[in-house]
C-alpha cells in the first residue's frame, strides 16, 4: 500500500484507455455496446463507492439501498420540475446523510453487526418504496423520469448519454484515487489493517469509518440517480439485495485495494448478465461461482495478480540496491 510510484508508462496507458472509452460511440458496431459501456460506467461508480467503504475495513451489504434512495430522490425532485443535474447531487447528499446517521450508530459495533444492519436498511428502503405508493408509485415504480439536460442539451439517446456517464465515472475514479493518496485515505487503509494501532496513533477510527461509509454511500446515491435518469424509470426492483451482491462480486473478483480492482471487476462482470440474459438464473450461478472461487484462489482479486508481479519487480530492485550497497 505504498504511494504508487507512477511511471510515465502508466500515464500513457491510462490516457489511451480513456481515449478509447471516449471514442466508443464512433466505432461501436451498434447501440447495444454503448448501452453496455454506460452500464459499466454506472457500475464502476457503485463499485468504487463500495471499495471506499472496504478501504476502511467494512463491508456494506446494503449498497443497493443507497442507490435506490438516490434514484427515488432524484426522480421525484426532477418530476416536480427540479433540474435533473441538480437533483443528481441532492440524491447523493441525501444518501450520504442517511449513511452518516446510520454509520454513526452502528459502526461502533463489531463488523458483523454493521453488515447485518446495513443489509436490513436496504431491505427497509425497498419496502418503503413499495409501500409509500402515493409518492413512489408502489410496485409500478415511477415512469417518465425526465432526462438530464446540460445547458439545453437533452441527453435522450444512448450516444448522447454515454459521454456524460463516462465523465461521471472517470471523475469518481480520479477522486477515489486522490482520496486514497490523501491523509484520509491513508487513515482508512491504516484503520482496516490494524484498528487498535491506528487509534493509538491519534486517529479517531470510528470517525474515519463513518466518513468512508458516508462517501461510499453518497456515490451510490449519485450513481443510482444517474441510472434512473438514463433508464427514465425506477421501481423497488431496480436495486435489490442481489444488485448489492453483484457490486460486491465485482469488487471481490476485481480486487479490494487500489482503484484498479474495481475497474477490472466491472470490465469482467458487466457484460456477463447482458450476454446471458436468455438463460434466467445461469448468470447468477456464474456470479456466485466466481465469487466463491475467487475468494478461494485469488482472495485479493484479479488486479492483485498484476500488483504481485509489479511488487516482485520492486522488491527485486530494492534487494539489488541493498546488495550493491553492501558490496561497495
Amino acid at each position: 500500500m505504498n504511494p504508487p510510484t507512477i511511471k510515465p508508462m502508466y500515464y500513457v496507458g491510462v490516457a489511451v484507455a480513456v481515449v478509447l472509452a471516449a471514442l466508443l460511440p464512433w466505432f461501436a458496431p451498434n447501440q447495444f455496446y454503448i448501452h453496455l459501456a454506460t452500464l459499466g460506467c454506472m457500475n464502476l461508480m457503485l463499485v468504487l463507492g463500495l471499495a471506499i467503504i472496504a478501504r476502511a475495513g467494512q463491508l456494506s451489504m446494503g449498497h443497493g439501498g443507497f442507490a435506490l434512495v438516490g434514484g427515488y430522490v432524484s426522480a421525484l425532485l426532477s418530476m416536480r420540475g427540479w433540474s435533473p443535474l441538480l437533483s443528481l447531487f441532492i440524491a447523493g447528499l441525501v444518501a450520504a446523510a442517511i449513511a452518516a446517521a446510520l454509520g454513526w450508530i452502528i459502526l461502533r459495533l463489531r463488523g458483523v453487526y454493521f453488515v447485518l444492519v446495513a443489509f436490513a436498511f436496504s431491505q427497509i428502503a425497498v419496502l418503503l418504496a413499495l409501500d409509500m405508493s402515493f409518492v413512489t408509485g408502489g410496485a409500478n415504480g415511477l415512469v417518465g423520469v425526465p432526462p438530464i439536460s446540460i445547458f439545453g442539451h437533452v441527453l435522450l439517446t444512448k450516444p448522447q448519454f454515454y459521454p456524460f456517464a463516462l465523465v461521471c465515472a472517470l471523475t469518481t475514479l480520479l477522486l477515489t484515487w486522490l482520496l486514497y493518496r490523501s491523509p484520509l485515505g491513508t487513515m482508512m487503509a491504516a484503520t482496516a489493517e490494524n484498528q487498535r494501532l491506528t487509534e493509538s496513533s491519534g486517529i479517531d477510527t470510528h470517525r474515519v469509518q463513518v466518513i468512508a461509509f458516508t462517501i461510499g454511500s453518497g456515490i451510490a446515491g449519485f450513481a443510482g440517480a444517474l441510472s434512473t435518469h438514463y433508464l427514465r424509470f425506477i421501481s423497488p426492483d431496480s436495486y435489490t439485495f442481489w444488485e448489492s451482491v453483484s457490486y460486491l462480486t465485482m469488487l471481490v473478483v476485481g480486487g479490494r485495494d487500489g482503484v484498479l480492482g474495481p475497474v477490472v471487476g466491472v470490465l469482467v462482470l458487466t457484460p456477463l448478465p447482458e450476454l446471458l440474459r436468455a438463460t434466467e438464473g445461469l448468470q447468477h450461478i456464474i456470479y456466485g461461482a466466481m465469487l466463491v472461487l475467487c475468494l478461494m484462489f485469488v482472495p485479493n482479486g484479479l488486479a492483485s495478480l498484476v500488483q504481485t508481479w509489479r511488487s516482485r519487480q520492486r522488491v527485486a530492485g530494492t534487494g539489488a540496491a541493498i546488495v550493491a550497497e553492501e558490496v561497495t
Partner: protein, 291 residues
C-alpha cells in the same frame, strides 16, 4: 368478528410466524457461534427444504412423514456438501466467509430456479379443520406449525443441553482452542453444527410450505428476519434467538393486523437500531470480553 377473536388469531399468527423465525434464527446463530460464519445462504436452505417438500408432498403425493424426512434429509446433505466444499475453508475468516456465503446463496437460489422454474407452488394443507376452545377457533394448519416448531426447539435444546455432542458444541462455541485440549475434534463439530443449523432451516421451510406459496425467491426474507432477531437477541445466544423470534413474530402479526405490514418492518428496524444504541450486546447476549 369480535375483537376477542381477532386478538386471539393475531396472537396465534404471531406465534406461528415467530416460531418459524425462532427456528431460522437458532440455526443461524448456532452456525455463527461455533464456526464464526455469518451465513447469508441460511434462508436458501429454508427455501430448498420448502421446495423439496412441495415437490414430494404437494406434487407427487409422497406420504407426509416420508416427505418431511426426505426434504430435511436432502437439504441437510446439501448443507454438508457446502460445508465440505466451501465453508470449511473460511473458518476464522469472518469477512470472506460471509462473502462466500453470499456466493453460495446465489448458486442455490438460481440452481432451483433453473431446475424447477420461477413459478410458485402451493402445497395442500397437511391437516384441515379447526380446534375450538370456548368459542374461539384455532385453525389446525397453523397450530401444526407452532407445535412442530416447538418440538424442534425442545429437542434441539435437549440435544445441546444434555448430550455429549451438545456439550462439545457448546465448548467449541465458547473456546475452540481449549475444547480441542479436551479431546474434542473441531473438524467433526463444525460440520455437525452446520448441518444441524441447515436442518432447522429446512424444517422451518417444510412447516411453512403449506401456509405460504413456495418459490425460489422465498429464502431472502427469513434470512433478513434471522439477522434482525440475532441482532436484537444477541449474536450467538440461543435464548436470545427464541425471545427475539417471538417478539418479531408478534410485532409483525399485530402491526400487520392493525396497521400495515410495511410499518411493522419499519418498526422492527427501529427496534434493531434502539437495541444497537442502548444494549449493543443484544437483549440476552453477553458482552464481548474486554482486554
Amino acid at each position: 368478528m369480535s375483537m376477542e377473536i381477532i386478538l386471539v388469531q393475531t396472537v396465534v399468527n404471531g406465534l406461528m410466524v415467530g416460531m418459524i423465525y425462532v427456528l431460522m434464527a437458532i440455526g443461524f446463530t448456532m452456525v455463527f457461534g461455533i464456526m464464526r460464519i455469518v451465513n447469508f445462504a441460511h434462508g436458501e436452505f429454508y427455501m430448498v427444504g420448502a421446495f423439496l417438500f412441495a415437490i414430494l408432498y404437494g406434487s407427487n403425493d409422497v406420504p407426509f412423514s416420508i416427505s418431511v424426512l426426505l426434504a430435511v434429509g436432502a437439504t441437510a446433505l446439501l448443507g454438508l456438501l457446502m460445508e465440505r466444499i466451501v465453508f470449511r475453508r473460511f473458518r476464522g475468516n469472518e469477512l470472506n466467509g460471509m462473502i462466500a456465503s453470499v456466493g453460495v446463496a446465489l448458486i442455490l437460489q438460481n440452481s432451483v430456479l433453473l431446475m424447477w422454474g420461477s413459478s410458485s407452488r402451493t402445497v395442500p394443507p397437511v391437516i384441515s379443520g379447526v380446534l375450538s376452545v370456548g368459542g374461539i377457533v384455532f385453525p389446525w394448519s397453523r397450530l401444526v406449525v407452532i407445535i412442530g416448531a416447538i418440538v424442534a426447539v425442545v429437542s434441539l435444546n435437549l440435544l445441546i443441553g444434555h448430550t455429549r455432542i451438545g456439550r462439545a458444541m457448546r465448548a467449541v462455541a465458547q473456546d475452540a482452542e481449549i475444547a480441542q485440549v479436551q479431546g474434542i475434534r473441531v473438524d467433526v463439530i463444525f460440520p455437525v453444527a452446520f448441518v444441524l443449523g441447515v436442518s432447522l432451516a429446512a424444517f422451518a421451510g417444510v412447516l411453512m410450505a403449506p401456509v405460504l406459496s413456495v418459490s425460489p425467491f422465498i429464502g431472502l426474507a427469513p434470512t433478513l428476519k434471522a439477522f434482525v432477531i440475532v441482532v436484537i437477541g444477541g449474536l450467538g445466544s440461543v435464548p436470545g434467538a427464541v425471545a427475539g423470534g417471538l417478539l418479531i413474530g408478534l410485532i409483525e402479526s399485530f402491526a400487520g393486523t392493525f396497521v400495515s405490514a410495511s410499518l411493522s418492518e419499519i418498526l422492527q428496524f427501529l427496534v434493531v437500531i434502539a437495541v444497537v444504541l442502548l444494549r449493543p450486546q443484544g437483549l440476552l447476549g453477553r458482552k464481548e470480553r474486554e482486554a
